[in-house]
Subunit: 307 residues, 2 copies
């Protein structure tokens, strides 16, 4: 099974209102509650793909209980370590024009809770085929947390896929995950300049850089691969990167060659944009987009090789 | 003990942000979580006064669990009936200027859940000295819900205090509670015109009308009493009406005469305005305001009698 790690999950609330009126009182017409946090989106996409997956990380309080309950309702297996703090909420207020977001701060993790998580993580490495590490680190967790998890996974022979930003990404890359998936802004924040040079400056292993509608660039040891969606997709880009990670993690497990791997990741990302919410994808858009991208490097698609 | 009924409670969240930016994303600096709903404020004020109190009503889901947990942390005894729906949240986003509110809709109550609550309520009438009935009715509960509860309490010899609005108030008044406490707007919405005439048109029993900084008017069978705070109090008026109900409920139990009763209710309301959050009061403001209002009708205060 693929293990997805989410150290700073959230309960995502979407409030539909008629119109946002600053300093007014709003009757919320509908409330949507979803498990939030990038790693949970990865787990939900993998589950929708029919892949065996287990979501782990840190959850606390009544909000954490609700997140676990929502995952259970969707049929996603989870094994979270309970913390004393309260899992954070995010609130997105949506009216006819746009969304206004409110992000609660995450709970602070104690050293004992982090030690408990490490023990749980090492247990999960037994049955794991791939581990994904997604999103920000909550306060209290060491900055090199992902590097520590990557090192444990390496010793257990389990490949890791890292999708985070800032110092957590910089530190994590030092442990050489099997793959990293920053987006172009996250990469540029750590190493300005052209994407290929930046990826090689930061990482010794393969880096897949997502560039929104411009698609993916994979910077491997001595190769660069590109793949973009054949037609632009309208929709909600939130969660597209997580769908990309879901596709890449499956490909890592199956040793899928770069052209097929990127084509699959581009198609699943486009299908996630076409779905109204993060952590889901439109199966028909997935199928159509995948079919429209030639699966081999020689297929005349936008996939190309540099040596 | 005084039993407070809250059929539509909430988890009240207050988000502090630097500045509200419509269609922006906000990092919330601090989150305050409090049990919400008028009846829970009544219970918390009574508990702070040292009065034996039990909070009952309907709670569901992880949010309901959190409300019960917060009450337990404050030491407030509660006995809520669990429902299948999720208790609602309210979110108040506060910046340097003002507050912007988002109110989730309440869960819909099933007939079976309402029947369960009625059975629980009748059990609680045994040890109850007074019952307060506060706030709106959630969807699914009959419009005459408060009238039914008042009738049950009457049969058990327990006086009731009704604080609600709209059809729930109109229907509730038909069952003749021992006292009602609408505010001036709620009364005017059902019966326009002068307060005393409106109260007598709607209710056969005593009605205490709250008028914000202008204080209270009590319309009894053949008397009208008035009492206002001696000095204006700056602060947060949310919850002042609930503090008033807390004072009135204690007075109902103790058969406190009108002048003392209104003086106490005015002082406790003012002390609630002086407290930063609903469901609490400033003990020093309570003491000082109470001392500044003569306790008898002949004391030269603003209390007067009409026959």
């Amino acid at each position: 099974m693929i293990v997805t790690v989410t150290l700073n999950p959230a309960l995502d609330l979407t409030y539909a209102v008629d119109a946002l009126v600053p300093y007014g009182t709003h009757r919320v017409a509908t409330v949507a509650e979803r498990p939030g946090g990038k790693g949970l989106n990865v787990a939900r996409v993998l589950h929708q793909l029919g892949e065996p997956v287990l979501a782990t990380g840190l959850l606390g309080g009544a909000t954490g209980t609700r997140v676990a309950e929502l995952l259970r309702h969707e049929g996603v297996r989870s094994g979270f370590v309970r913390i004393g703090g309260e899992t954070r909420r995010t609130v997105a207020v949506v009216d006819g024009s746009d969304a206004t977001g409110f992000w609660e701060p995450g709970p602070t993790i104690t050293p004992a809770e982090w030690a408990l998580f490490l023990a749980e993580f090492r247990e999960l490495l037994g049955p794991a085929t791939v581990v994904t590490l997604s999103g920000s680190l909550p306060p209290g967790v060491p900055l090199d947390a992902y590097a520590v998890l990557i090192a444990h996974a390496k010793r257990a022979g389990v490949p890791t896929l890292l999708d985070t930003s800032g110092p957590a990404l910089r530190h994590g890359l030092l442990a050489a995950p099997a793959m990293a998936k920053p987006n172009a802004e996250e990469l540029a924040a750590l190493a300005p300049g052209p994407v290929v040079a930046a990826a090689r400056a930061l990482a010794t292993g393969p880096v897949v850089v997502s560039r929104g509608a411009a698609g993916l660039v994979a910077v491997a040891h001595d190769e660069v691969w590109e793949c973009a969606p054949p037609v632009p997709v309208d929709g909600n880009p939130t969660g597209a990167g997580d769908a990309c990670v879901a596709a890449l993690s499956r490909g890592l497990r199956d040793h899928t060659p770069w052209p097929e791997l990127l084509a699959d990741a581009v198609a699943l990302s486009a299908a996630a944009v076409a779905a109204p919410v993060a952590g889901a994808f439109d199966p028909e858009v997935y199928r159509q987009t995948r079919a429209a991208i030639p699966a081999s490097a020689s297929g005349g698609s936008r996939v190309r090789t540099h040596r």
